[in-house]
Symmetry: C2
Subunit: 144 residues, 2 copies
DNA sequence: TTTAATTCGGATAAAATTGTCCTTTATTAT
DNA sequence: ATAATAAAGGACAATTTTATCCGAATTAAA
């Protein structure tokens, strides 16, 4: 569904959000440890998320990654997926035709667009804050 | 969503089904041409589909690929996806945890499982015959 | 029985994704 | 100022996916 990079990116962003709720800024080392992801690869992904304004980074001692409390609400999963995987999942044809086109649809078009739109809506409606709070209460997990 | 191999596999199977409705057996060359896919790679995928009984192959002159009329109804897309991409898409965690587990769910679990199940149901309910008939009537396309 | 058409299967190559390493840059604390 | 800490960025390596090539096996037709 999503690339590995995107999966790590979402898990990392949720973890950063959770810690930011406590006013804690976190390092790549801690993030990779907590979400059980490859350190250097995770660092690359965090750079992307930083550039696309999903998270905020601070260099130097006491530096690290954080997310403003107000941003947590309006940063939706769709923004992260878009930043890392692009828009294929939001607009692409399920059978791989060059573009999804209702005027010249593939055999799966109607059924696929339904599901694709459900996914799109879910991603556009789910905020980092929402996901982080489940974690905070101890109901959900970022590793296993 | 699906791998390239899987996309080609579905398109190929639908095309084979369509031609089989006319009693025509088709070659890899014709299939790759009609669904606009790389010839040799498509041949590999057809081998897989043949082994997993999605399609039937006949060697030698006048040989090629075909699907029995009765099979078209009960071969569902889920079988093709399973044969080529495995079961990750049916049971995997949306955030890449080693396994999806309702007892220890990732933050996206509830919302993701909904969509994953919609997709699963759609694939399990959609037969090759159903997709081929849309093509037959000229309402849908396998290339563009 | 020979030839030709076709799938099958193995080896290999190219491209994309995933992952690592090391140097540079910014910033804080001593 | 200097040293230490952390992200940024570039080069490179490993793995997986996508794709190609070629010879072997099968079978129908000439
Ligand atoms: S054309 Fe294939 S999903 Fe729309
Ligand atoms: S645990 Fe992540 S989708 Fe179920």
């Amino acid at each position: 569904m999503f690339s590995k990079a995107c999966e790590y990116g979402i898990r990392a962003a949720v973890y950063i959000a959770l810690q930011s709720l406590d006013g804690r800024r976190v390092s790549v080392n801690e993030i990779a440890e907590e979400i059980d992801s490859p350190l250097a690869f995770t660092a690359k992904i965090l750079q992307q998320l930083s550039k696309s304004k999903v998270i905020h980074s601070v260099k130097g001692p006491t530096g690290g990654f954080e997310i403003e409390r107000t941003d947590m609400d309006h940063v939706k999963l769709s923004k992260i997926v878009h930043a890392i995987d692009g828009d294929e999942i939001f607009v692409g044809c399920g059978l791989g035709l060059k573009e999804c086109n209702a005027q010249k649809p593939c055999p799966l078009h109607d059924k696929f667009v339904d599901i694709r739109n459900n996914l799109k809506n879910m991603l556009e409606q789910t905020s980092l804050y929402e996901l982080a709070t489940g974690l905070e209460v101890g109901l959900t997990y970022l590793r296993r």
